[in-house]
């Protein structure tokens, strides 16, 4: 059974693509055959984060329009054996996506024996974002600990309830997961940021993880390495926990408490 997971948020810049890349990589590292699809037609980024931008020949829109076969467009990931990337088109806009076309692509991936399909949603609530979530079985709602992001996530949760195929056909609703990203325990402590508990209280969706704000994410993006591969970094650990929880394992929350830097670190620690 193929599971379709949409990574969505409503708001832009909260870490959807970073999460899609890390989460899909994490599933592949666990041995699942995984595809990650960039739905952000016109503003494609996933290929950059995955470090495969030079290998993009065909894209999602080509496949939907019948200009290329699906296996011509799928790019094999350089880090993981069983991870494949289906990039978006940079030269089209989101109207190039059709519901039938997307459904066809997902069906074909299912026939190819994929265990998980991760859909990286564009920001907003327009066509691209709706199509990314239409066929989802589960949703990871990526939220920053600030009010506008929470409000937009709430809106997207409503759209998941009303516009998905599962909702239209009266099936069991999409399984929702809340992922709080760019979390800074210090700023929460100082009262500048909502705590993950506040966010969860506002959205009332089960929490799947908290990803700390970290400079290594930017570094990873620039190198084209999904953040989960940054051995020893808190971000990689946090994403590994998220994948484990997604697969039904119990993991305690980490990186959510502020630890005061010691004297030595304050004197010499720099950052």
């Amino acid at each position: 059974m193929t599971r379709v997971v949409v990574v969505t948020s409503g708001k832009g810049g909260v870490g959807k693509t970073t999460t899609s890349a890390a989460f899909a990589s994490g599933l592949a590292l666990r041995g699942f055959k995984t595809a990650v699809i960039d739905f952000d037609v016109g503003l494609r980024n996933l290929d950059l984060i995955m470090g495969c931008e030079r290998r993009v020949v065909y894209d999602l829109v080509n496949v939907i329009n019948g200009e290329a076969k699906l296996n011509q467009a799928l790019i094999k990931d350089k880090h993981c054996e069983n991870l494949f990337i289906l990039p978006a088109s940079q030269t089209r806009d989101k109207d190039a996506l059709t519901e039938e076309g997307v459904e066809q692509v997902l069906k074909e991936l299912e026939h190819m024996g994929f265990d998980y399909i991760v859909c990286d949603s564009p920001a907003g609530i327009e066509r691209g974002a709706v199509l990314a979530l239409t066929f989802a079985d589960e949703a990871i709602v990526t939220t920053n600990p600030e009010v506008s992001s929470v409000r937009d996530s709430d809106r997207i949760l409503g759209i998941l309830q009303s516009k998905s195929r599962r909702a239209a056909e009266g099936q069991e609703p999409i399984k929702e997961h809340l992922l709080v990203t760019r979390y800074s325990p210090k700023r929460v402590e100082d009262g500048e940021m909502l705590s993950y508990k506040d966010v969860q209280e506002l959205l009332r969706v089960p929490l799947i993880g908290v990803i700390p704000e970290s400079e290594s994410v930017l570094q990873a993006s620039n190198q084209g390495t999904p953040a989960i591969h940054l051995k020893g970094s808190d971000v990689a650990e946090a994403y590994t926990d998220v994948v484990a929880r997604f697969l039904g394992e119990e993991r305690p929350l980490r990186f959510v408490d502020y630890v005061k830097p010691g004297l030595m670190k304050r004197l010499f620690g720099g950052k």
């Binding site: 609530i125 709430d154 809106r155 759209i159 056909e169 009266g170």
Partner: protein, 258 residues
């Protein structure tokens, strides 16, 4: 909100909530409206992206001999708005509007979606002769109580026509719930809650966790720009109308639950 499995009938009627934009027209001449729309939307004719629209004539300033419905419809479609009905339309234009395929939506108080459960397909609500819809007598509440099991999210709208509304998972900021009867909210009440929408002054709003943006009963409303009083913020509360010297006033008081 679980639904029954799809039936095998060739046609099936379900309740739907649609979001529609209300366009309040003070003019009816398509050329004047086109100028205005052009000014408002400038270079973004796709601003509305095919939304449904209800044309509201309550504020009409001119009284033309006839309304150019074909012209109006094609104008709105050009700006990607799809008119589906009219509201508060003076009686003399109603026949032509119906002929143009527009529904009379006066019973539906502007944006409120048709949400009452009805087993049979429904005829269009009869057009009202008066431009101002008179408050209807409140129907018996128990018959049409509407239950919502999942949170009402930002941007969603729920309308319990003709009865009470029971929210079992609360509602978020940016959501709107409307009931002709009372509103009972188990969980946070955070968006806009409008009870007694057809004028029932005995309607109430009860919430276990009070924190709305606006509450209203029979059109008498209150906003909370200065914040919600500490005695009731995030706590159980009751909103009702009380009769006073200067007419009805909205009272909000704590609710003792245990």
């Amino acid at each position: 909100m679980s639904k029954a499995p799809p039936s095998r009938r060739a046609i099936e009627f379900r309740n739907a909530s649609i979001g529609a934009t209300v366009a309040v027209l003070r003019e009816t001449r398509p050329d004047r409206l086109a100028d205005e729309l052009h000014k408002m939307l400038g270079g973004r004719p796709d601003f509305f992206s095919g939304e449904a629209a209800i044309l509201d004539f309550s504020d009409l300033t001119d009284a033309p001999e006839r309304i150019d419905w074909a012209g109006l419809l094609s104008l709105f479609r050009r700006f990607q708005l799809q008119p589906i009905g009219v509201s508060r339309l003076p009686e003399e234009y109603a026949a032509a509007a119906r002929q143009a395929g527009l529904a009379m939506l006066d019973g539906a108080i502007g944006t409120a979606p048709a949400a009452a459960p009805r087993p049979a397909p429904r005829a269009e609500p009869a057009p009202r002769p008066a431009p101002e819809p008179a408050p209807r007598p409140a129907p018996s509440a128990a018959a049409t109580t509407m239950f919502v099991d999942r949170p009402v999210r930002s941007g969603q709208q729920v309308y319990a026509r003709g009865g009470d509304l029971v929210l079992l998972a609360g509602m978020s900021n940016g959501a709107e719930v409307i009931a002709d009867g009372s509103i009972h909210c188990y969980g946070p009440l955070r968006g806009r809650a409008l009870a007694g929408a057809q004028g029932n002054e005995r309607a109430r709003i009860m919430a276990t966790n009070f924190g709305p943006e606006i509450v209203s009963i029979a059109g008498i409303y209150r906003t909370f720009e200065q914040g919600i009083p500490a005695a009731i913020a995030g706590r159980p509360a009751l909103v009702r109308l009380t009769a006073g010297d200067k007419g009805n006033t909205l009272t909000i008081e704590p609710l003792q639950l245990d």
